[in-house]
């Protein structure tokens, strides 16, 4: 290896080289950004055309869709609350995806996180601050362990991770339902729901602190932003992150280069699981302040869209999370104001995924061309 390193004395200009690399990075980032923006515009346009074809007034509908979340302060709160969950889920999905592992387990991990953290937050008396941190940490540990199962199955047995994570989701969702219905719900209660979590364990709401009616929007957003920084550090500034990225770009080469690919793959599932569990804690301790049946309803799949739009880049996930929940909340408002089914948002979402994943080829060509020019 030593002999292949360029000799600094032989006309190798380190500064110029660094500058070139930086310029190239900026170029790719700009290409990525423009491709994403164009994709979103095309998808919105397709939604617009669909409304036009089916005889609805698309202008009225899109006005509600695109301005709705900002039209009233409580709607803004709803938007930011939804974005918090989606940002955390996007981060959780990005880690295994970065290693090219299609873990769809975030849904089950979310439920486990919600369940474990809420049970502790109801039954274990803890002092302030700890009353929030301990339940969330325990939830994360549970999510981590749950992620280890499909991770180990994939890494050491080469068992299809899509099937295993979907099976685990199905099992966990039923276990959650069972525990909530038969153990946590007070006997004789009219509705299936757990007791409220202790006051100290509730994530404080901005509406109480700022005296604005921001609904259930709470300090969970701080945790989400901390996680953004944490995941960014993990992926781009640690050996583990480097190994994940190596495996993602070429697993065989990574193994040849001496990386314990099995361990890293397994851990990528588990760490994603720990983060998805925080999304569950946010829903349980912050949004609902107790457990309700079906607390997620497929949110994890929305997290995939968020991660995909951000191209698994943790620093972009807050932006795409905010964007995507804006569309979701806007869709709800559009439905009430323009009597257009909010499901058109799902159609737009599907188009975005299809265009972005098909765009991979275009990107590849662009990058090759850029390289050839250089």
């Amino acid at each position: 290896m030593q002999t292949t390193l360029p000799n600094p004395a032989s006309g190798y200009d380190r500064a110029a080289e660094l500058q070139r690399v930086r310029r190239e990075r900026l170029q790719t980032a700009l290409i990525d950004l423009s491709v994403t923006l164009i994709t979103i515009l095309v998808a919105l346009l397709i939604g617009f055309l669909v409304l036009l074809i089916v005889g609805k007034n698309p202008v009225v509908a899109f006005q509600a869709l695109l301005t709705g979340p900002l039209s009233r302060i409580n709607r803004t709160g709803r938007w930011l609350e939804d974005a918090t969950t989606l940002i955390i889920l996007g981060l959780s999905v990005a880690i295994p995806f970065k290693a090219r592992q299609f873990s769809l387990g975030a849904e089950g991990q979310l439920y486990v996180g919600a369940l474990v953290s809420t049970v502790i937050a109801i039954y274990v008396p803890l002092p302030p601050v700890l009353a929030i941190l301990v339940p969330i940490a325990c939830g994360m540990a549970a999510g981590f362990l749950l992620g280890l199962i499909p991770g180990a199955m994939k890494a050491y047995l080469n068992a299809n991770e899509i099937v295993s994570t979907l099976m685990i989701n199905a099992i966990i969702i039923r276990a959650y339902d069972y525990i909530l219905t038969y153990i946590l719900t007070a006997p004789g209660s009219q509705t299936v729901t757990s007791a409220d979590v202790q006051v100290f364990s509730q994530l404080a709401r901005w509406s109480d602190m700022l005296n604005l009616s921001l609904g259930r929007f709470n300090i969970g957003i701080v945790f989400a932003l901390l996680l953004v920084a944490g995941v960014w550090l993990l992926l781009s500034r640690t050996p583990f992150g480097y190994e994940v990225r190596m495996i993602g770009s070429n697993e065989k080469f990574a193994r040849y280069g001496g990386i314990d690919t099995k361990k890293v793959i397994m851990l990528s599932f588990a760490i994603g699981g720990a983060i998805a569990a925080v999304a569950g804690s946010h829903l349980a301790l912050g949004v609902h302040r107790r457990l309700i049946p079906g607390i997620s309803f497929g949110l994890a799949f929305e997290g995939i869209v968020v991660a995909l739009l951000a191209r698994n880049n943790p620093l972009l996930i807050p932006i795409t999370g905010l964007f995507y929940s804006y569309l979701r909340v806007g869709g709800e408002i559009m439905e009430t104001q323009a009597s257009v089914g909010s499901e058109i948002v799902q159609v737009i979402q599907a188009v975005i995924i299809l265009l972005i994943t098909a765009q991979v080829l275009a990107d590849w060509i662009k990058r090759r061309r850029a390289r050839r020019v250089a």
């Binding site: 995909l308 499901e343 188009v351 995924i353 994943t357």
Partner: protein, 317 residues
């Protein structure tokens, strides 16, 4: 407990298992064909929804159940081919494109139903068609066997026959062999002149047909309406049945019946105050275990093959 056993060993229960399994086994056969061609189809769920919704709407507006069947299966097949196009031509990621298709189907079907009849829950207000239930002469008069095998929906019989047909197709036809070769090792298949893309198009197209039939059964056999997300995860269970059935047609049928049995049992035991969630968990746990066992068997086979190869080498020297 005694009562539970009486429930399980009744003819009515076995007949119910066949009824409940049909919308699992039909898409599972589609998933199997795709899987064997090396293209895991996780869009089965969405394809079923598309067919279920189209079938109901077309049959309601044309007053013809068969037109509903044809339109539903056709549209599901077209969407499956669209998935193939994105994957094979546009190099989109198969899994993500399939997720997109599922989202599109879930949202799109409700969007259209809401548009047409201003109801988001279901199409219960429409009068839609149904596939016929068939009484088989002679068999229907045999005690015990009669109530099980006779009087089922047409598509339940289609499911049983299709399992045999898929088996013949995969193992006893030229195309089926090529299709499996593509799934085993696409590079090797390409090197002997098999058109890999064509085989994968074919596999996804066929899986669209089977998923479509499963969807039609749900909304035009099992019940007579379309409801929001009425597949309720059956497309994913179907995929699990493929793996639980060791990627074999008969295995897939048996696995699908096992899933159906657990489902039917949970309904029955629910009446007996046994928590349904626990019973419903069993098939998923079984699939997880099967996934591990299958992986271990595959690994052992590879080891054996290597050992045999080495022995042959040693013998020839």
């Amino acid at each position: 407990m005694e009562e539970a056993f009486r429930v399980i060993f009744s003819a009515a229960f076995v007949a119910a298992v066949l009824r409940v399994s049909t919308p699992i086994v039909l898409p599972a056969l589609g998933g199997l064909i795709a899987e064997r061609a090396g293209v895991t189809n996780i869009a089965l769920e969405g394809l079923m929804l598309i067919a279920a919704c189209t079938g109901v709407l077309v049959s309601a507006y044309t007053k013809n159940a068969w037109l509903g069947l044809i339109a539903g299966v056709l549209l599901a097949t077209l969407f499956s081919l669209l998935l193939a196009f994105f994957y094979l031509q546009l190099k989109a990621d198969l899994i993500l494109a399939a997720i997109a298709l599922n989202i599109l189907a879930s949202g799109g079907t409700i969007f259209i139903v809401y548009l047409l009849i201003n109801d988001k829950g279901s199409t219960a207000s429409l009068v839609s068609g149904q596939m016929p239930f068939i009484d088989i002469p002679i068999i229907k008069d045999i005690p015990i066997l009669g109530p099980i095998l006779s009087g089922q929906n047409l598509l339940t019989y289609v499911m049983l026959i299709a399992t045999g047909l898929v088996s013949v197709f995969l193992y006893h036809t030229r195309t089926g062999t090529h299709l499996r070769a593509v799934g085993e090792n696409p590079d090797a298949a390409r090197s002997v002149g098999i058109n890999v893309k064509l085989q994968q198009y074919l596999a996804l197209g066929l899986s669209g047909i089977f998923a479509g039939l499963g969807g039609i059964y749900l909304s035009m056999g099992y019940v007579k309406f379309f409801a929001r997300d009425m597949t309720a995860g059956r497309g994913f269970i179907a995929l699990a049945a493929v793996y639980l059935g060791a990627k074999q047609p008969v295995g897939t049928l048996i696995a699908g019946l096992a899933f159906g049995a657990a489902d039917a049992l949970s309904i029955q035991l629910g009446n007996l105050q046994v928590p349904t969630q626990i019973v419903q968990m069993i098939p998923y746990i079984a699939t997880l275990v099967a996934l591990v066992v299958y992986a271990l068997v595959q690994r052992q086979r590879a080891v054996n093959r290597q050992r045999k190869f080495r022995q042959q080498q040693a013998a020839s020297v």
